[in-house]
Assembly symmetry: C2
Homo-oligomer: 338 residues x 2
């Protein structure tokens, strides 16, 4: 019998850890490599849908051998939360000792989700974009976008960054924040077409309620790298079939989880195993080549997976211990089996 | 923008709420009725299996209209935890506002799981056992068993209570605790056969690692009510087919979740829709009759569902507010969409 404590890290605690963009990217890369090397256990995410696509929870779970931790993230996707001044995604990550199932930490994962999604975006581009991409076209202005653009620019130092989003006030606010942070010009575009046409890297982080084509097949030039990861199809449905490489994060999850950008195509049986070049982890682990020619058009679909959350959650727990950040909660006094 | 707090209830906090057995049973009954009336959203539980059946997590999620709350419970099932002096099931329940996905509480659900399982056991017997059952035969001595026996005895005031479990020290300890609590004789049996034979109510709360027959078909007398809910088949596999009524808690979940007492029979296609009389919620809601004759043999398989956890979690949150129990955590300061 012994007391059991666990660590609580709030959104503010997470902010105060000041994780650097580069250490986040490096940590997420280690997770991708572990995934590619099959050193993870990760069933598909599951869902609790109150009102699709407006009100749902996604539940991600996994185990990552290199950090010897299991974790479960519960993340809301509530499209109308901006009306309350809330983020659309509240997320919490529970981390566990895989020997006993004892919880070791409860970590705000709102920030983790933004960070790890941005890092996967950046790493996707690292492995799949052309050498020295000049122009980034970015659709979307929510939490993940803030990390996408900064991490991509850290890797590539673009000549031109174009951003757009549905609501003028959100794209203006987003561009102003980016411009101040990166100390450079950010072009705010009114149309998605002007944003993405002939860009070297196109990131579609939109969150539609109904299918619309924000990225046409013809807007993706030879040599371009495209990513699209919204819950609703927002690019031309031909794209997974016409690109030279279609890469996913976890194909098993893509086949099981019924939501996400190309999920309908998978469910209908049109998008099949044969269309998938590989998983980003296989490329990160060096098991498959990434981009192979300057004119290659490729597309990376990431639904997001628990491995990334667990990697960043464990980094946060380690940092928090070093810095004395967080609240220690007494979970059990004198734990025992009844 | 506003600050967001949430309530943390530890195992000790849960203990200090002193929820009465009768209010727990009543609350769980309301959940069963809501389930029967289809006033819930409840996809199947899902699983993160590290090493079956020794090390896994079960993840239960749902929404319950009458209490207007969504919830996700993550519960470990780590068979060897007694070696560390730990409960085999550490569990945490997150409760959410279904309008925004905002977390409202993180509640230890180790106790909730024991309580709600005991209450479902008791309610199953209330609807399906014979009038004035005299003899209870109970297999198992872990957390849920402690609630099973006390709640059943509250409803039925048995003439004879027999208990057994695999390890002599655990059954002796269990019986001594029960005897002190109920101020009555508890018969400790060495064999499962002697425990269950000719009992009016047979509860098999065993946790096997491999299939064994602890309850033979012939030990279930006419008029007996049987429940079996371990993760591994522990009763004679003929039973779902030979009883007069085979009742489940949620048939959809029984078909999807691949673990539990009769799951193999379902997966193999042997146990089918036609064999299921109904769900306990339909009986609780008065949509189908429970027991219909004194000689009816019936079997209730409950895998456990999120509706029960959410009902009891919301009761705990309400009680905690009344009593000033728990720790308020600042989750977000000045929440906003980024």
């Amino acid at each position: 019998m012994s007391d059991i404590d666990l660590l609580f890290l709030s959104k503010n605690d997470m902010d105060s850890l000041n994780l650097s963009l580069s250490e986040i990217i490096q940590t997420i890369d280690q997770g991708l490599i572990a995934h590619g090397q099959k050193k993870v256990i990760m069933p598909s995410k599951s869902h609790l849908v109150l009102d699709f696509p407006n009100k749902l929870f996604n539940i991600l779970k996994g185990y990552v051998e290199p950090v010897d931790a299991a974790g479960v993230k519960i993340i809301g996707d509530f499209h109308d939360n901006y009306q309350y001044g809330f983020p659309s995604e509240f997320a919490m990550l529970n981390l566990y000792d895989p020997k006993t199932g004892r919880p070791i930490a409860i970590v705000d994962a709102t920030l983790i989700t933004w960070m790890r999604t941005g890092a996967v975006t950046a790493l996707g581009a690292k492995y799949l974009a052309c050498d020295k991409p000049r122009v980034l076209g970015h659709i979307g202005a929510r939490g993940t976008s803030w990390y996408n653009v900064r991490m991509l620019d850290l890797l590539f130092d673009f000549e031109e960054i174009r951003v757009t989003s549905k609501r003028p006030e959100s794209r203006e606010r987003f561009a102003a924040a980016l411009s101040a942070e990166l100390d450079r010009e950010i072009r705010v575009m009114e149309s998605t077409k002007d944003t993405v046409r002939d860009a070297d890297i196109i990131i579609d982080a939109s969150r539609l309620l109904d299918h619309q084509v924000l990225v046409a097949d013809s807007d993706v030039k030879p040599g371009a790298h495209l990513q699209a990861y919204g819950a609703v199809l927002s690019v031309e449905p031909s794209l997974p079939f016409t690109v030279d490489k279609f890469v996913v994060d976890d194909w098993n999850q893509c086949k099981i989880s019924p939501y996400g950008q190309f999920a309908d195509l998978v469910q209908k049986g049109e998008l099949q195993d044969e269309h998938v070049y590989g998983e980003i982890g296989e490329i990160a682990a060096g098991l498959k080549p990434g981009r192979e020619s300057p004119t290659e058009r490729n597309l990376f679909w990431h639904k997001g997976f628990a491995v990334s959350d667990i990697m960043l959650g464990m980094l946060a727990v380690k940092k928090a211990a070093e810095l004395g950040v967080g609240t220690t909660l007494r979970y059990f006094t004198q734990a025992q089996d009844m």
